[in-house]
């Protein structure tokens, strides 16, 4: 890493740490911004780098949300009291109890999500193309429907997460830093993963799975590990998201396919899928513009989301980063045939990582 790059990263971290103190009134929105970054980054592992377009990654997010909320409920709540209030109670916990419950819930949620990804992945990741996409779409909706009908996790009336203890300071600031750290970790881990052989294997699967298999790559294993990786970050984000929102609804909070589930795909594509920075950029642009502009378009905002999806997919299929790269590449090779940005997927040479780095 060059000094300039290190300085750049340091400046970004400084801005991120200072943001909630400078703009305390936007704290919760800034916290959500990091959630969006994690969602987009974790979608891009499988959707962008590996070329498997999943519409159902929200499943792992929902598993995290529910696992954490259920652990918190069952660890500390008086079940009699809770059952008596029929979900209408949120108990006050001591800081250590709260943190312990949250941490245990997050860990359990992440484990469950990985387990789900491994089990489901063993079957579903054998599907390709349309079939994979629609299968995951069905999976996401099915989980929401099942959660909405299961009494143990609150069924359609949802779960209330415990109140945030006042001794721990400001709630939004706590979650802001949690989500910020999660986003940084996710970015760092993915950056490292994409630079090593594993990332190259994922790109090989995207470019031509049959050839990758013929070259001796155990594609099913790589695909499953990639999905598990995606699931870990989604579950860690989901568990805290449930507490951050304060109420777990099966379709609006946990298995939120129509909102978060679509947004994560849109953000990753808008920024540039198959790149490390693309999803981050997409999430930033999407979330900030959504918060500032869409509040003035109340009632029409979701329609605009649909329209935006169509427009981005049709006219900017490689995202902002892909478009910029195409322009610079086009200028450099003005004499050569310009690759049509619409048809060709980002090839592994133009996206992450340069070959020389990973091969000694």
């Amino acid at each position: 890493m060059t000094a300039a790059r290190a300085a750049g990263y340091a400046a970004l971290v400084a801005v991120a740490v200072a943001a909630p103190f400078v703009l305390p009134q936007y704290q919760s929105q800034l916290a959500l911004l990091w959630v969006m970054v994690v969602l987009a980054l974790s979608w891009d592992i499988v959707g962008g780098q590996m070329g498997y377009n999943s519409f159902g990654n929200i499943v792992f997010f929902g598993i995290g949300v529910y696992a954490t909320a259920v652990v918190q409920r069952d660890l500390f709540f008086d079940i009699d009291e809770y059952a008596h209030a029929a979900g209408g109670v949120a108990s006050q916990l001591a800081p250590l109890e709260y943190l312990g419950g949250l941490a245990l819930g997050l860990v359990l949620g992440a484990l469950l999500a990985v387990l789900a990804a491994a089990v489901l992945g063993a079957g579903i990741l054998r599907l390709r193309g349309h079939y994979f996409a629609i299968c995951t779409l069905g999976l996401g909706i099915a989980m929401g429907e099942i959660a909405g009908g299961t009494d143990y996790i609150g069924a359609g009336s949802g779960l209330v997460t415990p109140l945030f203890p006042e001794l721990l300071g400001e709630r939004n600031r706590f979650f802001y830093f949690y989500f910020m750290l999660l986003a940084f970790t996710c970015f760092g881990v993915l950056g490292a993963v994409y630079r090593c052989r594993f990332g190259l294997a994922l790109n090989a699967i995207r470019d031509n799975e049959d050839k990758a298999e013929a070259m001796g790559l155990r594609t099913t294993r790589y695909k499953t590990i990639a999905w598990c990786l995606s699931a870990v970050f989604l579950a860690l984000a989901g568990g805290a998201y449930g507490n951050f929102i304060g109420f777990v609804d099966p379709v609006d909070t946990a298995f939120a396919g129509p909102t978060l589930g679509v947004w994560m795909i849109l953000m990753a594509i808008m920024g540039g899928r198959g790149t490390l920075w693309g999803p981050v950029l997409g999430a930033m642009i999407f979330h900030v513009s959504r918060e500032f502009l869409w509040t003035y378009l109340l009632g029409w905002d979701r329609m605009i989301l649909g329209l935006l999806t169509v427009l981005i997919v049709l006219f900017l299929p490689l995202g902002i980063l892909g478009w910029l790269r195409g322009r610079t590449a086009g200028r450099a090779a003005a004499a050569g045939v310009k690759p049509s940005a619409a048809e060709s997927r980002p090839s592994s040479s133009t996206s992450q990582p340069p070959l020389s780095e990973s091969q000694p």
Binding site: N53, F55, G123, I124, R126, L127, R128, G129, H130, Y131, A133, I134, C135, L137, G138, L139, I141, A142, E145, I146, G148, G149, P258, V262, I265, I269, G299, W300, R302, M303, L305, G306, L307, L308, T309, V310, V313, L314, P317, A342, E343, R345
Partner: protein, 301 residues
């Protein structure tokens, strides 16, 4: 599981479920024909299929509020949706032909969100649940043990008639032949003077018309709501996957079977899990097919 015992004790009740399911399965068959058509000819999977169904339902419902009998709404819905489909093709879908499958999936997904929200808006249809009662009464069989709503019989007959008409159209008419030619080899068809762009537009419009007819039946048999379209997309997709794209009889059989299976599942698991059953069944069917192909080292394409 008490409900299984109930079925064993009163076998006539399972006959009721079976008949009901098979009859309404015909409605799914209509939408599935449309999907198979678009998939086979244009190589596009239209995720907005369910929204077209619901839109067809709204057309019939709107006429119903003006006093038109809902049965008369079926051809109107089909006609209106034909033009909606044509417009959709000219606006967006023509850009998706011969593109990456992800582009077509996500773009039609975007259209489906757009249509949902448009229908949900208070200035359009609003978020209320609607239905149009055709007032046809019911048929009692086996001494009153089995009750069949006449509208379900009518829906079944209508679906069969439309399917037969479609088969004849594809086999006999010039436009149908052009569609089949384009599906087989669009380049050769262009060389033979077929205007493939028009053929695609016609195909997509026909698909929308089929969905419109299905939607008119849906609003009479059940209810419509802006957000319940996706389940019709999934049903259509499932039926086509089970039957295969070019298999007209197979699509019919799979659709009727799905209707019956769903009805039984809804009764045994409880109505709140019927939708969950449909979506889970999709996952199971895909996995089962992929597993069987995987043993021969092939993948589902």
């Amino acid at each position: 599981m008490d409900n299984i015992q109930l079925l064993l004790q009163a076998p006539v009740f399972s006959v009721q479920l079976l008949v009901d399911g098979v009859l309404v399965g015909a409605i799914f068959v209509l939408a599935a024909y449309g999907m198979a058509l678009v998939w086979g000819v244009m190589n596009i999977i239209n995720v907005a299929q369910g929204e077209l169904v619901i839109l067809g339902g709204y057309v019939t419902w709107t006429l119903f509020t003006f006093g038109v009998h809902p049965l008369a709404g079926i051809p109107v819905s089909a006609a209106v949706l034909f033009f909606v489909g044509w417009g959709m093709y000219r606006a967006v879908v023509f850009r998706l032909v011969e593109r990456d499958l992800f582009v077509s999936l996500l773009a039609t997904f975007g259209i489906s969100i757009l249509l949902q929200q448009l229908m949900n808006h208070n200035l359009v249809f609003g978020p209320d649940i609607h239905s149009a009662d055709p007032g046809l009464g019911s048929l009692l069989l086996l001494g009153g043990d089995i009750v069949i709503a006449n509208i379900k019989l009518a829906a079944f007959a209508m679906a069969l008639a439309v399917a037969a008409a479609l088969a004849v159209f594809m086999k006999r008419s010039r436009a149908g032949r052009a569609i089949r030619a384009t599906a087989q080899n669009n380049r050769a068809a262009r060389l033979m003077g077929v205007d493939t762009d028009r053929v695609y537009a016609l195909t997509f419009a026909l698909n929308a018309a089929l969905c419109g007819a299905a939607g008119a039946l849906v609003v009479m048999v059940w209810v419509i709501h802006p957000f319940i379209g996706i389940i019709y997309t999934v049903r259509s997709f499932m039926i086509v996957v089970v039957a295969g794209i070019g298999n007209v009889a197979g699509v019919a059989a799979a659709g009727l079977g799905l209707g019956a299976a769903e009805n039984f599942a809804g009764f045994i698991l409880g109505a709140e899990f019927q939708a969950a059953f449909v979506f889970t069944l999709l996952v199971v069917i895909l996995l089962w097919r992929s597993f069987r192909l995987g043993r021969r080292r092939q993948v589902l394409r």
